[in-house]
């Protein structure tokens, strides 16, 4: 399998070339165009754990994701995958593929809207223990990425990497993914609650330790509010 990231950083698409009998997993709706003979199949992946009730609870909390698998069959084929919003895509190696690509290969915690696609060896689990989604108004949940292969992350805005060595603060609307080697706390920005509410910085994640952070330059919620509030009213 080969891939190419085109039209960076604002309207990035991934061009994937599949050899015969290869497949790739992507969030549903990501396919732009593909060779006519590729086979597509879409399923609903739900969060694990807690038995039936746990599964239901996660579904109600919005923790579910539609994933499509694209298979090449007997002949090679190619396809274009695009994220939902304007922005960039980057690829991260997981496991031994990651180390081979020069990275740490550490597993990642990825914000649900930040996942675009991954190769079959990557394990995508819904829900990450220890981090609840309390970002008000946004049904954001977290994906636990492990295994071996390449994962494609998408962002609203451009993606920039921060190599954390000490402590680093990121506004919650700007996080795409982070390596599991980092520890974090969710806190208010600045020194006082007044700062947090009035300063508009709201909640931030403070990361400590050593590891990589993938941040996006823009906040989808802020842009959504800017445009959406000017659109005509909708039915409740």
């Amino acid at each position: 399998m080969e891939f190419d990231l085109l039209k960076r950083p604002d309207s990035t698409v991934v061009h994937v070339s599949l050899s015969p009998h290869e497949e790739i997993l992507a969030e549903a709706g990501a396919m732009v165009a593909m060779s006519g003979h590729l086979q597509a199949e879409t399923t609903l992946r739900k969060g694990k754990g807690g038995g039936i009730l746990g599964g239901l609870k996660r579904m109600l909390a919005g923790e579910s994701i539609f994933l499509s698998t694209f298979r090449s069959g007997n002949s090679p084929g190619d396809l274009y995958l695009a994220p939902k919003l304007m922005g960039d895509v980057c690829h991260v190696g997981i496991g031994s593929t990651g180390s081979a690509l020069g990275g740490s290969g550490s597993g990642l915690v990825v914000q649900s809207t930040g996942y675009l696609a991954s190769t079959p060896g990557v394990v995508v689990d819904l829900g990450f223990q220890g981090l609840k989604s309390f970002f008000s108004g946004e049904s954001i949940f977290w994906l636990d990425i492990s295994g071996d292969g390449v994962v494609f992350l998408s962002s609203f805005g451009a993606i920039y990497e921060i190599e954390v060595d000490g402590s680093y603060v990121v506004d919650t609307g700007h996080i795409v993914a982070f390596e599991k080697t980092l520890t974090f706390t969710v806190t208010k920005a600045g020194g006082s609650w007044l700062n947090a509410i009035l300063g508009g910085e709201g909640l931030v994640m403070r990361f400590q330790g050593h590891g990589k952070l993938y941040c996006q330059t823009h906040n989808a919620g802020a842009f959504g509010q800017l445009v959406g509030s000017q659109l005509p009213a909708r039915e409740a």
Binding site: M86, G157, G200, H218
Partner: protein, 225 residues
Amino acid sequence: MKYDLRYNPAFATLFVELQPGERLTAEAGAMASMDGSLDFVTTFSGGLFTALLKRFFGGESLFVNTFHNPTSEPRTLVLTQANIGDIHHIKIKAGESICFQPGAYIAHMGGVTIQAQWAGFRSWIAGEGLFKLKIQGPPQGSGLVFFGAYGGITERRVQGDLIVDTGHLVAYSPQLKMQIKLAGGLLGSITSGEGLVNRLSGQGKIYLQSRSIGGLVKFLTPKLR
């Protein structure tokens, strides 16, 4: 302060390196990420009354944050805007000034003053707010102002007359005269979709954005449920 504007024009973002002891003021909400040892203080921008004026009529944020580096090493700070688009910076010297449309201001450094100024009722009808933001240079030396837009920013000199769709104007020299009028007569304006335009005259500089939120809203509205 060292700074780097990356990802122009689509997702222009300001990557700043604050030197020990340095301060930078930015509109509330502009911080995307920053080194853990930086601190910041929230204040009303321009004093409470100006801040309220700006919020009610100018569309600007009520608050600004002043970031400070209390450590002995340079620290990084990443600033962005709610809009997705270009960011430009202007160096303003003593005696110079420039006006911004609501929402354009992002951050400044070096003693420039930011005031809310009366923009006229016509400006309000055109959807541009009753007040505009006027940035004035410091008493001496020069300051730096960062502003952003929705779309790519184009700088243009006006010499004489120019007709501009109000949604595409981002910043302009205060000495330019503005006349808000209908694009093509009443029926023409409604059917052409051009609506209100601004006729600028005089000599000065303007900054245009290649998209407008109004344009996006107009584009999407018929496609919504």
